[in-house]
Structure formats: C-alpha cells, structure tokens
Symmetry: C2
Subunit: 338 residues, 2 copies
Amino acid sequence: MASMGSRIVSLLTTGKYAPAINFARRFSVSHQQWSRQAKVGFIGLGLMGGPMAVNLIQKGHSVVVYDLSSKATEHLQDEGAEVAKSPAEVASKADRIISMLPNSEHVRTCYTADDGVFQSVLAGTLILDSSTIDPNVSKEMAALAVKKGAVFMDAPVSGGVPAAKGGTLTFMVGGEEQEFEAARELLSAMGKNIVLCGRVGSGQAVKICNNMLLAITMIGVSETMNLGMRLGLDPKVMAGTINTATGRCWSSDTYNPVPGVLPNVPSANDYQGGFLTALMLKDLGLAQNAAIATNSPTPLGAVAHQIYKLMSNTYLSERDFSSVFRFLQEPQKKEEDN
Amino acid sequence: MASMGSRIVSLLTTGKYAPAINFARRFSVSHQQWSRQAKVGFIGLGLMGGPMAVNLIQKGHSVVVYDLSSKATEHLQDEGAEVAKSPAEVASKADRIISMLPNSEHVRTCYTADDGVFQSVLAGTLILDSSTIDPNVSKEMAALAVKKGAVFMDAPVSGGVPAAKGGTLTFMVGGEEQEFEAARELLSAMGKNIVLCGRVGSGQAVKICNNMLLAITMIGVSETMNLGMRLGLDPKVMAGTINTATGRCWSSDTYNPVPGVLPNVPSANDYQGGFLTALMLKDLGLAQNAAIATNSPTPLGAVAHQIYKLMSNTYLSERDFSSVFRFLQEPQKKEEDN
C-alpha cells in the first residue's frame, strides 16, 4: 500500500500530469485560479450530503448537483442548485467536485461508470470525496484522476447530521500538501476543522481507525457500566469517578450509553438518532479489511466488529451505536418493536 | 451480592454492634472522639504502603507498623514508627488501621489468621483496607469486623507509586456515609481525592471496573495506532486527530503507548516504570471474577484479560501495561532480555 501511495504521490509531485492541463489551469489547483463563477459539483444528497450542499449554496457557491433520488435533487433545486442528469454531466460543468456516497462501490461507480465523473472531468479539477470508504479505493480513484489531469483527495467527515446541518463538520483530508489550501478553502464552507492527515487515503485511514477505537471504547464503557451496576454501584457515581480517572473517554464523559447518566444523548432518548449501529458495522468492516490487508492484529477491533454484526441482526440495527449497552444488558422486560 | 451487602449495611446502620463498644467509643467512629495521641496501625509497607505510612508520620500521626520484610519495617522505624511483631499486635495498639496488601488472600490472612487483626482489634476501631481485592472479600472482612464492634471500609487507590510518595492518591471508598468523614480525615494525609463510591465493596468495584475499562482502552489505542501506522499514518498526526475526535481517551491523550508521541510516559522510556502488566493482569482477573459472579457479559474485558495473560508470559510482564503496543507490533528486530 505504501508503495502504491508513493507512486501516486510521485506522479502528482513530479508534475507528470501537468502538460495535460490547459493554459488557464496549468498550475497547481492550490493557486486558486478558479473563477468565483465556476460551479461546484455535488454528488450524493443524502442525510449528510444534502445539508452540506445547502451550506455551499448559502456560502455563495454556484452548485450543480446529482442524486439518484429526484426528491433530493428537487429540494436542492429549490435551494438554488442546478440539477444534472448524471455524474458525468456534473463533471462537465464544474471545476471542483464533492461526493458524499454510502460505500466504496458507490464511489467506484460514481467515478468510473459510463456516465461517471471520469468520462468528462475537466483537467485541473479538484475532487474531494467525503464518503467513508476503503482507503485503497481512494488511492485507486486518485490514480485514475491523475490520468485525467485532475486531483482527487479523500475528505471523510466526523460530526454526523447535526454538524452537517450546522456547517461544523470535521474533515479528515488525505492528499498533497500543495493542494490542501484549495481543499481547505472549499471545505470550510461546510466544516470548521479541516485537518490534513497525510497522503491520499490518509483521511479514510484516520476515520476508520478513529471509529474502530470509538466502537471499542463504547463497548468497553457499556460492559464496564453494566458490570458496575450489577455490583451495586450507582451509574452516575461510577461514571463520575471513571471520568476523572484513567478510564476516562469520550464514550463515557460525552456520550454515555447508560440512560439517565447524561442528558441530550441518544441513550436519554431510547437510542433514537445519533450514529446508527448499521453504519458503525460498516466502518468496523472497513477497519477489518484494512487490518487484514496490512497484517495488523486487532483483537478488540475484531470482537467489536462481531458484536456490531450480532446487534445488526436485531432492532438495534437502526438505533444509535451506543445501544450496545442495551444489547449487553439482561433481556428487556418489554417486548421491543422488531 | 447485593443482598449480602444489604445485610452488612443493616447491621451497621441499626447499631447492633454498638453495645459491644466500650464507653469511650460507644459512638460512631465518625464522631472523631479518638485522641490525637492514639496510634494509627499500618500493615503492608511495600512500594505503595511504605510511602503512604511515611506520609502519615510526616502529617503528625503516631504510627505502629507491621510487614513481613524487616528491611521495610526498619525503614519506617527510622522515619519514627513503632514496629509490631504481628497484625494482632498492631490491632492491640491502634484505633485506626490501614492495610495495603497484594491480593485477596493476603488480606484474608492479615485479618483472620491466629496472629491477625481480628484476634485483638479494639471495639470502635476504624479499618481502611487500601488493597485492590475482590469486593466479596471486602464484604466478608466488613462482616467479621462488625462482630468485633469495629468498622471496615474498602479504600483502594489510584495514582500509583508517584502519587503514593507525593500524597496525592485518589481513594475510592466503600462504606457507610456516617463513617466517611472519619475515613476522609485520615486518608487525606495520604491523598487528595477521597471519593465515597457506595457501601462496603464499592471502592473495589469502582476500581476494578475502571481498570477493566483502562485495559480495554489501552489495547484499543495500541491496535488502532499500530493499524494506522501500517496504513502509512504519522502516529503524532493520528493521535492528534483522535484526541480531538470521538476516539479520545486517557490511554491516547495522557498515556499514549506509542514511543515518541508523548514525553514523560513509560512508552518514552522503553516501558520502564508505571503500572506493571502483571498488576493489570491481576485486576482483570478480579473483573472477570466479578463478571462471572454477577452473570455480566464482558466480551472485551475477557479478551483484554487473555491478552494480558499472554503478555505476562513474556518479558513484558514486568514492564508498564502500555507495552501492549509492543506486544501487538511486528516481532522486534533486536533480541529482548527475557
């Protein structure tokens, strides 16, 4: 993987693609020579992508969008976006493209299909993919972009739907340092923390590593709190002690999975909303893929993956991932909707 | 367990043991009627107990000590302590007793043997056991203390040897609220955070729950950092991102296990010092005992126990527990001392 990344990097940094770029765009995209009138393409208008695209429009960008759902595109049209009929049409009209798609295969299709972005992408285009996918797929797309004289960076997000709506997302960016300023300028219309994590694929790598650790700490807090409560401890006293001791973590002090310990978290609302178990399962699968590909031992990550797999066979699949506390508890007395 | 705790509590709170207490001590120990000239007994003068006892002396307490090691007692004698020949002799001379012993069996022997504390404990004595042991053993000792008209509270610590020396330990106390003030007054000679966690055994319960979560987060951070590094990420950049994101935890932001990420932690010093793998293994065994006794699922805690068990078969047994990062890494190039 490292050597593949290095090859891409050397293509990017030695300027081998530069001759393919037309006069107006022959410099690095970081030179910000785009016209303010040029369009930003946005592909994927779901729960996250929809509000992100709206923020772009509200910050003054001219936006052309594509989504399979006509309901989604109509909503963006009402907000002032132009609607394209395919990713290829988006690419033909934009010199910056953002995509926000569910998984690796959606991304591959969006870029490489017959009506995909790479059919008509303009040389010099800056592509930012905010999907959470396999880092290898990000590298693959970056290599294909180079052949078109475009630049592809991975830029997955954290913060969820509330941060997408509020324009306060964290973007974890993988790409070349000399292109980062251009990416940062565009992404700051949708987020407040824009972090360069390394070369292409690094944003994905940080995201899936962070989320693997998040799953581990969430399960760890859940089993610890359940054990302590069965030993007779008061959950608030226990959380209060842990939060000032060495067990301290975000899953305990900010997003505690035990109902009643914290207000305004999903556990206080029957685990409605938040970050779905099904999505955590997807991220843990990506982490396990990466662990296998790099021959890395992840004993707790592997068990976490299995636990979320088992949870996803229940009604908790569509609840917040902190519902692992309920999954570990004794059988619920009331029948749950299933 | 809960019902056993409740029985002890009702004995304590209904005052059934009060008639056995002599005139001078017929009130709750929390009335602080001890003479300032009365002695504090201290049993167990190891790496933790030694400096704790020294702090008691330096804060003006008159102290009588016992330890199997004559070297340990001689050191305390030099500091001004009286030396007893047995736990029973300590008990005959003190109206407050603190014990700091390696494990449950040591505690049982210290209190119940022929020359143990309960052979000669004075009615009204306040006993604080700072060992980290099975909460059931704490409850068992508390029940026996009641029969002698004494009060037993569990008061395990966190902070390690540096905090023991500096008098900045955190004490997690299990016992009755009306006795807590007396315990707090004495313990504050050796620590700065004295937390009442609940009834007897609760201090142990919080301690082993916290340490189980600590082991889980430390292994989780180690496998996450190792995976990310193998994906090509810079460990400092990765830790920096995680520490401001949802994977944030003490094991990452305060005690990072990857050499070079943080200064002044054991990983920066070849994992020397700190909290030994062998001790974490002990605490994880206590957590698993508690989980089995209460029928609590602890999938990650069980794997963590096994990992520290495997580590303890290597030279890492006597290194800091954060050396789990090294355990997960690829085989070391240099031969390690074994």
